[in-house]
Symmetry: C2
Subunit: 412 residues, 2 copies
Amino acid sequence: MENQSSGKKIIKPQTLKGFRDFLPADANARNLIIQKIRKTFELYGFEPLETPALEYADTLLGKYGSEADKLLYLFNDRGGRKVGLRYDQTVPLSRVIAQYPQIPRLFKRYQIQPVWRADNTQKGRYREFVQCDIDIVGTEAELADAEIISCTLNTFNELGITQRIVWLNDRTIFDNLGFTKQEIIILDKLEKIGDQAVIEELKKMGRKNAAEIFTLLKNTQPTPRIKKIFTALEKEGFSEKKDFLFVPYMARGLDYYTSTIFEVKVESYTSSSLAGGGRYDKLIGQFTGNDIPAVGIAFGFDRLVDVILENNLISIGKTPSKVLVTVFNPEYEINSLDIATQLRKSSINTEIYLDPLAKLDRQLKYADQKDIPFVVVLGPDEVQKNVVQLKNMREKTQREITVEELVKILKT
Amino acid sequence: MENQSSGKKIIKPQTLKGFRDFLPADANARNLIIQKIRKTFELYGFEPLETPALEYADTLLGKYGSEADKLLYLFNDRGGRKVGLRYDQTVPLSRVIAQYPQIPRLFKRYQIQPVWRADNTQKGRYREFVQCDIDIVGTEAELADAEIISCTLNTFNELGITQRIVWLNDRTIFDNLGFTKQEIIILDKLEKIGDQAVIEELKKMGRKNAAEIFTLLKNTQPTPRIKKIFTALEKEGFSEKKDFLFVPYMARGLDYYTSTIFEVKVESYTSSSLAGGGRYDKLIGQFTGNDIPAVGIAFGFDRLVDVILENNLISIGKTPSKVLVTVFNPEYEINSLDIATQLRKSSINTEIYLDPLAKLDRQLKYADQKDIPFVVVLGPDEVQKNVVQLKNMREKTQREITVEELVKILKT
C-alpha cells in the first residue's frame, strides 16, 4: 500500500473493489436524476425518511434469506456491539414502524440512501449503491399496490424511460399450486434458461408431473388482487401490455414477499430489471409481534443512471456552472471579482478563475474542459469602457456588451 | 436483544447509540436545507463530488492526528482488507485528486455526505452526521480563501442565519512566535477557560515568558494573506466585525492546516462553531508526492439544522404533500382516484387515503396529524353534481367547487 519514493512515504490513492468515486460530471447527473425521482415520489404523497448506515446485526440478520446474510457487512464496533451496514431500506423501515408509536397507522414514505453488499464484483455488481424506495405501510388495499406501480411508471416517464413495463405476479399462485421454495428459485430462472430447462430442473428436484404443472402455471389467470390493481391502473390511463403485464412464472428472490410481486423491465436498453418490489405483510411483525401489511418497490438507482446517460434520455450538462469570469492579471483580479459578484447576486452560477497569473488561453481551456457554456473576458480596455467580452463556448462566438446586458443574457 | 412473547421471536426495534432516524417532518426539513446549501455552493461554481463510505484504512489513518485515529470506525472486510468508514470529506478529496489525472489542475468541488466518528455520545455528539464541504484545490491565491469565506457567509444568509461571523487566523503566526503543537491546543481553549487560565497552563508546560508571549499574540496584526482576503471580501460588500474578524489566538484542532484557518460563529444561537476550515497545502502531497495547495471549509449540517428549526429561521412545512383526497367508501374509491390523478397531472403533490373503509373523521385526523394543508372530500352528492368539497385545514373553512377550480386553487 505504501511506496518509498524520494524518502517520502506516499499512500497509494485507490478505492476498494466494488466502490466508486463520482467525479463532478457524473455526480451532477446523479443529483439531477435524484431530484426528478424525489419530485415524482412527492407528487404521490410519499414523505422522506432517513435511517442510519449502521444497524444492530440482529435487525438485519435472517430477514433476506441465508444467501443474502453472507453479503452483509458485519463487524464489532468499538463498544463490542455486533453491527452491520444497511443492506436495503425495507428492513430499516420495518424497524422504524415498530420503534415509533407516533407514526400514523397508514404510512407512506420514500427513502433514497446508499446500501452495502459484499457481493461478487465480477458480475458487474457494486458493493455500494443507492436505492430509491417507496413503501405504503398499514393497508391491504389493492389501491396501495396500484399507487406503488403508478408512481413507478410515472417516475420512469419523468426520467425519459417511456419504454418500460411492470411485470406483476402474486406469490399465492405458487402456494396454491404447491411449489416449494427451492422450486420457485428454479422458476425465477425461466427467462435465462428457457421453458424446457426449467421443466428438466423441476424433474430433477423430484417433481413427477413437472411438465403438466408448469403448463398449468403458465396458463394461470390473474388473482382477484391483480385484477383490482389492473382496474385502478386503467382508470389512471395506463394499459395492459404497454404499461403492465401479468407474468405468472415471475418469482423474485427475497424471502419476505407474501403476495403481489413486481419488476420493471426496460427491454430496449437492458435485460436486468431496474426496479422490483412487492407486498410483505409479515416482515414488520418480526419487530412488532403483530403483522402489519405493507407494499413497496426499490429502484436500482445506479443502473437507472447508466441507462439514462448511455441512451441520452434526458439532457444533462456536465456542470451546474453557467459562466466562467476570467482574470486578466493580478491587478485586474478585483474587477473580475466585481463582475462575478454581480452575476451571483442575480442567481447566475458563476465561477471566477482562481489563478490570476494564468494565461487567458489556459483559462479558456479550463472552461472548455469543464463544459462551462459561457466565458467573460475583461482587461484594461474593457474596464476603461465599462464593458465585457462574452464568449459563447458552444457557438464559438464573442460579443462586447455591458454588464447589465450580460446579466440579462445569462439569466435566460 | 430478543424477547420470547407468545412463542414468537420478536426483535427489539432500536437504533445504535449516537445514530438517529429522521422521520418525515425532520427528513423533509433536512432535504429543503440541503437544497438551499447546494444552490449556494453551485452559485459559486462549486461542482459536486461523491466518494465511497468505505476507504482503505491506510487512506484514513494518521491524517487527522492520533486522538482522531481512535474515533475511526475500522474493521476487516470479508476479503480481509483493513477498511474504515469516512471520517471527513477532506482526506477522500485528497485521495481523489491524486487518483484521477483527468481532474483539472484547478479544482472546485462540494461534497454533502454522512461521516462516522466513534465519539463520546455523552457530549451530545452523534456518531453519524452529515458534512457539507466546499474546497478549492490547486491554487495559493488569497482570492480562493476569500471565495470559500464569501460562499460560506452567503450560505448562512440563504439559511436565514444572518447573525453569523467568520473568525480568521493564520497558523504561521503561531510558528513565528515559536508555539509548539501542545501549546496551540491550549490556546484553542481560550474562549472556554479565559486568558488567565491559558497563561497558567502555558507556564505549566514550561513557558517562562507565558504572559508576555500571550500579550504579543493577542496584539498580533493580520498577516499579508489575511489582509488580502479582507480586501476581496470588502469588495464583495462584506465588512469587518459584522461579517469577518481576525482572531490571532484561534487555533483549530486538526493537524493538517498550514496557514489560513476559519470558523463560523453564531453567538446569538449557539456557543459551538457551525463551520470550520482552512488552508491545507501539505495534505494532498501525502498521496501525490508533490504538494498541491488547497483551502476549504466543512459545515456541520446537523447542528445547522437544529439552529434553523429551533429558531424558526426559515419557513419549512412538515410535509411535501399539498392535499389529501379522501375516500367515501370502496364504491367511490375510483372517483377519488380520478381526482387524485387529475391533481397529480397538474404537478400538485397529492395523497389519496388508502383505506376505503376508514371513516371520514379518521381520514381528516390523518391529514391534521401530518399537517397536510388541504383536504378534498367527495361522496355520492358531489359525484352526481360533478363537484368536490375543499377543506382548508389551517383556516378551518370548506367550500364546494368544480375540479377545474380545485386545480386552479391548489396550483397557486
